[in-house]
C-alpha cells in the first residue's frame, strides 16, 4: 500500500502528538466479540414468551386484493393474524412520501410480487409457517409492467397517471445543446444499461418488537434508528416518547438496511401489539432477496462532443431509473445519479435530464453508491471510447479534461480545496507504467486487457441536506471516568465505533481504551442523521471531534479551578466525575460557509466536497468459455484523511469487489416481476477466490471542514472499478467483439459470447 499522507496531524491541547490515534491502524473495537462469536445479532436475542412472526406475501405482480381467507384444517386459536385493519395509525411506511402501505388492505392494489399482505405470529416458527400455508389471498390480477422504458408508455398505471416518480434537469451554458454537439469535431453517443444488484449483507434483515405499558421497543438490524422511529410513529399513532428503536449488532447493510427495516419493525410491532407478547421477525435469505430493495436498474443515453485535440465541449445525458412499485428513496437516488452524470470533467455546455419510472417490481432503493455507479458506468464508457477514437492514452484524455481545484462542475459549483483528481490519476498511472500487460500469443486460449476509470463522489447529503438534518452528537464523561460517544451513527461493519473512538480519544488527549461507543438507541442518543451518504466520518465525525474538544476544555477548566491543573486529563476527568457526576457536551453540525444550493434550478454546491478516485483493472478472457479473470486491480482513492488506514483500506477493497461483481457476475433475474434467483447459490456475488490482487492507494487531500481533513469513503469505491473492468474486457477482445456488447451490464460470459458473435 502506498500511503501518501498530506494532511498534518492535529496536535492536541496537551501538545502530545504521540497520543493521537488518528491515522493509525487501531484494531477494530468490535472485532474481538465478532471473531469470538459473542457479538449478539438480533437472531441471537430472546425475550420471555417471545413469538415468531412471518409475512404472507402477494403471489402476483399487480392486482386488487379481494379477500384474505383463513382456511379450515388449522387451529387458528394458536396464532395471531394481523391485516391492514389492525393498524392503529396510518397504513403507510413513511419516508419521503406515503404511497407505500405497510400491509395491502382489502380492496386496495397489490403493486408488486412478494408485497406484504398479512402477518402471523406463533410460539414457534414451524407453527407460524403452517399458519401461512393455510392463509389464502383472493386477488384479481391485473396487467403489469416490468421495465422502466415500458412504464413510460403508461399503459399500465403503477404511480399517478404517467408512472413518473421524479424528474430533474441540470443545465449549464447558453444555447441549444444539440447545436453545441453538432459544432463539435467528434460526438460519441452511447446507450448504457445496468441491472439491479442485491446488497447480500451476511445477516438477513430482522427485528424484535415488544410493548410495555403503551411503549413500543424495537431492536434489530438497521442503519437508521430515527428513520424507523419516524415511520413507526405514523404507523402506530404514537409520539416519539413511546417508541424506542435500538440497533442490535448488525451484519452489513450497504444501503439495504436504510429504508426497508421500517417495514419489518412495523410488522413486528403490529404483531407484538396484537399477540401481547414480544415478536421476533427474521427474514429467510430467499425472502430477503425476493422482497427487499436493490440497486435501481438504469438506462442512460450519453452524448459527448469534443474537439479534435480531445477537449470536451458538450455533454448531454438522459438518465432513466427503474424505481419499482413505490417511491421509497428513488427521487434521492436519482438526484445523486444526475448530479454525477456529467462526470469529473470540465465542460461549459451540459444538459442532464433525469427521470425515474415506477414498475411492478419490488421497490429499488439505497445501495452503496446511490445512483452514481449507474451514471459513472455511462460517462466512463464514453470516456474510454473517446480516448480510443482519438488514439489518446486513457490518462492523457482524462488529464486534459479533468476537474481541478478552482474549476466549475456541471452545477456550476466552483471547487475549492480538497481536489485529489490529479493525485489519484497520477498514482494509478505510475503503477500502470510499472506493470506491462503480458503479450498475447495468437494460439493461446486467453487474451489480456486493461481498463482505466476516473470518477468522483459527492460526500454527505446533497445541497442543503446537511443543514436541514442538523445532526447532533454527544460526548460524555461517565461517572466511572470513561468517555462515551453517543450518536445515532450505526456500526454496520464499516468501523464507525473504531473511527469515533480514535477521533474522540485524539481530541480528548486520552488512550482509546477509555472511550466507549455504544450501539445507538433513540432514547439514549441524539439524532445525528442517518448512516448513509458517506457522511458518518465527515459530518458526524466532525461533530464528535468538536464535542470531544469542548468536553476536554471543560475538564481542563475544572481541573485548573480545583487545583488539579498539572494532572493528566484522564486523572482530572476521573476526579471531576466523582464530584460532578456525568457531564456531557452535545454539538450540532454547522455546514461549512459558502454552501449555496438552488434546489429549483439544480445549481450551486451540490456537495460540500468530493472524493476522487482512479482505477486500473487488468483482466484475462478465456476464448473458450468467455470467463473473465481479474488479475489486478489498482485503485487510488482520495479520502481527505484516513482516520484508520486499515479500516479505510477495508472499505475501499470491499467496495471494489462489490463493484467488480456488479460488472461481471451479479444480476437479479426477474420472471414476471418475481425474483427468480433468490438464493446465495444462484444470486451470484464474488467470493475471495474471484477477488484479484488489489493494489490500494490511499490519497489524502485534506478537507478543511472534515475531522482531521477526512471526507467520505464509504461509497466511492463502488462507483468506478466496474467500468474499468468492462473496459479491460473490451480491450482484451479489441478486434474480436463488438463494442456495444460492453454497454450493458453485467458483462457475463454469456454477454461476451454474444458480443463476439456480433463481430464475427
Amino acid at each position: 500500500m502506498v500511503h501518501s499522507s498530506k494532511s498534518g496531524e492535529e496536535v492536541t491541547a496537551k501538545g502530545s502528538v504521540s497520543q493521537s490515534s488518528v491515522g493509525k491502524g487501531l484494531p477494530r473495537v468490535d472485532g474481538d466479540a465478532k471473531v469470538r462469536g459473542t457479538a449478539r445479532y438480533v437472531d441471537d436475542l430472546k425475550l420471555p414468551n417471545m413469538h415468531h412472526g412471518m409475512t404472507k406475501r402477494s403471489a402476483v405482480p399487480h392486482g386488487i386484493l379481494k379477500g384474505i381467507h383463513k382456511r379450515d384444517g388449522f387451529d387458528w386459536s394458536q396464532v395471531v393474524v394481523v391485516t391492514a385493519e389492525d393498524i392503529p395509525g396510518r397504513n403507510t411506511i413513511v419516508l419521503i412520501e406515503e404511497d407505500q402501505p405497510a400491509l395491502v388492505a382489502i380492496g386496495a392494489p397489490i403493486r408488486h410480487h412478494d408485497e406484504a399482505v398479512a402477518l402471523v405470529a406463533a410460539p414457534s416458527r414451524e407453527l407460524a409457517h403452517e399458519a401461512l400455508t393455510h392463509l389464502e389471498l383472493e386477488v384479481e390480477e391485473m396487467p403489469a409492467v416490468f421495465t422502466c422504458e415500458d412504464a413510460l408508455e403508461a399503459k399500465v398505471k403503477v404511480y399517478g397517471d404517467d408512472n413518473i416518480l421524479k424528474t430533474y434537469l441540470i443545465e449549464k451554458g447558453e444555447g441549444d445543446i444539440d447545436a453545441k454537439l453538432a459544432a463539435c469535431d467528434h460526438v460519441i453517443e452511447g446507450l448504457y444499461r445496468t441491472q439491479a444488484q442485491e446488497q447480500m449483507y451476511i445477516e438477513p434483515q430482522g427485528m424484535i418488537a415488544s410493548w410495555d405499558e403503551g411503549r413500543c421497543h424495537i431492536v434489530g438490524s438497521m442503519q437508521c434508528p430515527f428513520y424507523i422511529q419516524k415511520a413507526m410513529c405514523t404507523l402506530l399513532g404514537l409520539d416519539a416518547e413511546h417508541l424506542v428503536v435500538e440497533q442490535a449488532v448488525t451484519g452489513g447493510g450497504f444501503g439495504g438496511k436504510e429504508e426497508y427495516p421500517s417495514m419489518i419493525a412495523g410488522h413486528a410491532a403490529l404483531l407484538a401489539r396484537e399477540a401481547g407478547v414480544p415478536v421476533k421477525l427474521i427474514y429467510e435469505r430467499d425472502e430477503d432477496i425476493a422482497a427487499t430493495t436493490k440497486r435501481h436498474p438504469s438506462v442512460v443515453r450519453h452524448r459527448m462532443g469534443f474537439d479534435a485535440d480531445g477537449t470536451i465541449r458538450a455533454i448531454d445525458v438522459d438518465v432513466l431509473f427503474d424505481g419499482g412499485a413505490y417511491q421509497t428513496l428513488t427521487q434521492v437516488v436519482l438526484s445523486r445519479g444526475v448530479l454525477h452524470a456529467a462526470g469529473p470533467y470540465k465542460c461549459e455546455n451540459t444538459r442532464v435530464r433525469g427521470r425515474a419510472a415506477a414498475t411492478n417490481t419490488p421497490p429499488h432503493g439505497a445501495f452503496r453508491g446511490f445512483g452514481a455507479p449507474q451514471t459513472t458506468f455511462a460517462y466512463e464508457r464514453q470516456t474510454q471510447k473517446a480516448a480510443k477514437l482519438l488514439g489518446m492514452s486513457p490518462f492523457a484524455f482524462r488529464e486534459l479534461n479533468m476537474l481541478r481545484d478552482g474549476d466549475s462542475t456541471a452545477t456550476s459549483q466552483i471547487l475549492e480545496g480538497s481536489v485529489g483528481s490529479e493525485a489519484v490519476l497520477s498514482a494509478v498511472k505510475e503503477v500502470a507504467e510499472a506493470y506491462a500487460l503480458p503479450a498475447d500469443d495468437e494460439n493461446s486460449s486467453v487474451r489480456h486487457g486493461r481498463g482505466i476509470s476516473f470518477y468522483f463522489h459527492g460526500a454527505g447529503f446533497t445541497g442543503s441536506g446537511e443543514a436541514r438534518l442538523a445532526g447532533r452528537a454527544t460526548v460524555a464523561l461517565a461517572v466511572d471516568g470513561h468517555f462515551e460517544v453517543r450518536s445515532s451513527s450505526t456500526d454496520i461493519g464499516q468501523g464507525v465505533q473504531t473511527m469515533f473512538t480514535q477521533i474522540a480519544a485524539t481530541a480528548l488527549g486520552v488512550e482509546p481504551d477509555v472511550v466507549r461507543v455504544p450501539s445507538p438507541a433513540t432514547d439514549r442518543v441524539p439524532d445525528s442523521g442517518p448512516t448513509v451518504a458517506s457522511r458518518t466520518c465527515m459530518v458526524v465525525g466532525r461533530v464528535v471531534n468538536q464535542a470531544s474538544t469542548a468536553l476536554r476544555e471543560r475538564i481542563e477548566a475544572w481541573a485548573r479551578e480545583n487545583g488539579f491543573g498539572d494532572m493528566p486529563l484522564r486523572q482530572a476527568a476521573t476526579a471531576m466525575a466523582k464530584v460532578e457526576g456525568e457531564i456531557a457536551e452535545t454539538v450540532q453540525y454547522a455546514p461549512p460557509a459558502g454552501i449555496v444550493w438552488d434546489d429549483e434550478m439544480y445549481t450551486g454546491s451540490a456537495y460540500p466536497c468530493y472524493g476522487w478516485a482512479a482505477c486500473m483493472v487488468d483482466v484475462k478472457v478465456d476464448l473458450d468459455t468467455y470467463e473473465v479473470t481479474i488479475d489486478r486491480c489498482v485503485h487510488a482513492v482520495d479520502v481527505g484523511k484516513a482516520i484508520n488506514p486499515v479500516v479505510v483500506k477495508g472499505q475501499i477493497e470491499g467496495g471494489t469487489l462489490q463493484s467488480l461483481g456488479w460488472a461481471l457476475w451479479e444480476d437479479v433475474i426477474y420472471h414476471d416481476g418475481k425474483v427468480a434467483n433468490d438464493r446465495m447459490t444462484n444470486c451470484i456475488v464474488p467470493t475471495f477466490s474471484d477477488a484479484p490482487e488489489m493494489h490500494t492507494i490511499i490519497v489524502e487531500e485534506p478537507f478543511a471542514s472534515g475531522p482531521y481533513g477526512a471526507k467520505g469513503v464509504g461509497e466511492i469505491p463502488m462507483d468506478g472499478p466496474c467500468v474499468a473492468a468492462v473496459g479491460a474486457v473490451e480491450d482484451a477482445l479489441s478486434s474480436l467483439a463488438r463494442s456495444e456488447g460492453f454497454d450493458v451490464l453485467p458483462v457475463s460470459p454469456e454477454a461476451i459470447q454474444r458480443a463476439m458473435r456480433l463481430e464475427s
Partner: protein
C-alpha cells in the same frame, strides 16, 4: 420429527434400508440439507457417513481403484493414487463447492443424487467407472453409463445402497482433461462440465470418452462426437466434424445460471480445445 438411524456397519445399514425403503440414505447430507428446505423433512434418514466399510480406497487387480461410496471429495484429493492415475477425478473433486462441502460431500452421495450438474459424475463417466450396489440379497455391478436412467434417476432399487465405485486402469499415455465452467470460482453450481479421456495410436485417436455435465437431463457421453474422432488424427478438420456431431446429441437448456446457446457454444469450444491438445 423424522427418524434418524446411524447403523454401525454395512450389514445393519442394508437391513435398515430393507426395512425402511422410504427413508433417505444420507452419505454426507450436503444435497439433502439444501433440498429439505423446499421438500420438508423425510419420514426418516439412514446415516452412512463415516462407515469404515464404505470409506476406503483400495487397489483393484491391474491398477484400478475401488473407492468406497462414503469417501469424501477431500479424501479423494488426498489420495496420491487417484491423483497420479485419475487426475481428471482429482481435478473435478477440487472444484466441488468449497472446503466445507469437500470435507462432507461424498462420491456415493453425488452419484445417488445424480443431478445433471454433479461435478464428479462426468469424470467417473469418462473414466469408464462401474457402480457397485448392495442389498440384503447381495451385490450388483453396473457400468456407470447404464446406471444413469434419467433426470435425477439412477438404477437403484428401494432396498439397495451404493457401496463403491470401481475405476479401471486407463490406457498408458491417455490424456485426461477436466473443465468446470461455473458461475464463479468457488461455491458454484456448474453451468457446464467436461471430462475427457483419450489416447493415440500412431497419431490416430485410438480410444476416446467425452462426458459432459449440465447439457442434458443427466450426465452424458458425447457418443456422436467420439465416433467422429475415433480413428482420426486430432486436427482442425476432425475437431470441426466432432463439434458438429456434438450439436446434434446434447440438449442444453436456459435457466437462471446460463442459457442453451452458451452451453452448446462452450461445450463445442472445450471439445475442440481437447482434440487439438492431443
Amino acid at each position: 420429527m423424522s427418524e434418524f438411524i446411524s447403523p454401525r456397519n454395512l450389514a445393519s445399514s442394508l437391513e435398515a434400508r430393507a426395512k425402511h425403503p422410504e427413508y433417505v440414505p444420507i452419505a454426507g447430507g450436503t444435497d439433502h440439507m439444501v433440498a429439505s428446505k423446499d421438500r420438508g423433512a423425510p419420514a426418516g434418514m439412514i446415516n452412512l457417513f463415516g462407515l469404515s466399510e464404505l470409506s476406503e480406497v483400495s487397489e483393484l487387480e491391474g491398477g484400478g481403484l475401488r473407492i468406497g461410496a462414503c469417501v469424501t471429495y477431500a479424501r479423494v484429493l488426498d489420495d496420491e493414487r487417484v491423483a497420479s492415475r485419475f487426475p481428471v477425478l482429482s481435478s473435478a473433486c477440487r472444484e466441488v463447492g468449497a472446503s466445507q462441502i469437500q470435507a462432507r460431500g461424498t462420491l456415493g452421495g453425488n452419484i445417488a443424487t445424480s443431478s445433471p450438474v454433479g461435478d464428479s459424475l462426468p469424470a467417473l463417466l469418462a473414466l469408464g467407472a462401474t457402480i457397485c450396489v448392495a442389498s440384503v440379497d447381495g451385490e450388483r455391478r453396473i457400468p456407470y453409463e447404464e446406471f444413469l436412467l434419467g433426470y435425477r434417476k439412477v438404477d437403484l432399487a428401494g432396498n439397495e445402497l451404493i457401496v463403491a465405485i470401481e475405476v479401471p486402469v486407463q490406457h498408458k499415455g491417455a490424456v485426461q482433461t477436466w473443465r468446470k465452467v461455473g458461475t464463479r470460482r468457488a461455491q458454484s453450481i456448474s453451468k457446464l462440465t467436461m471430462a475427457a479421456v483419450a489416447h493415440l495410436d500412431d497419431g490416430k485417436i485410438a480410444g476416446i470418452r467425452i462426458a459432459l455435465g449440465a447439457v442434458a437431463d443427466r450426465t452424458v457421453r458425447a457418443k456422436a462426437a467420439e465416433a467422429a474422432l475415433l480413428g482420426q488424427s486430432p486436427n482442425d478438420e476432425s475437431a470441426t466434424r466432432a463439434i458438429k456431431a456434438l450439436a446434434g446429441e446434447i440438449v442444453p437448456i436456459d435457466d437462471v445460471r446460463s442459457n442453451a446457446d452458451y452451453r452448446l457454444g462452450v461445450a463445442q469450444n472445450l471439445v475442440r480445445r481437447f482434440v487439438l491438445s492431443l
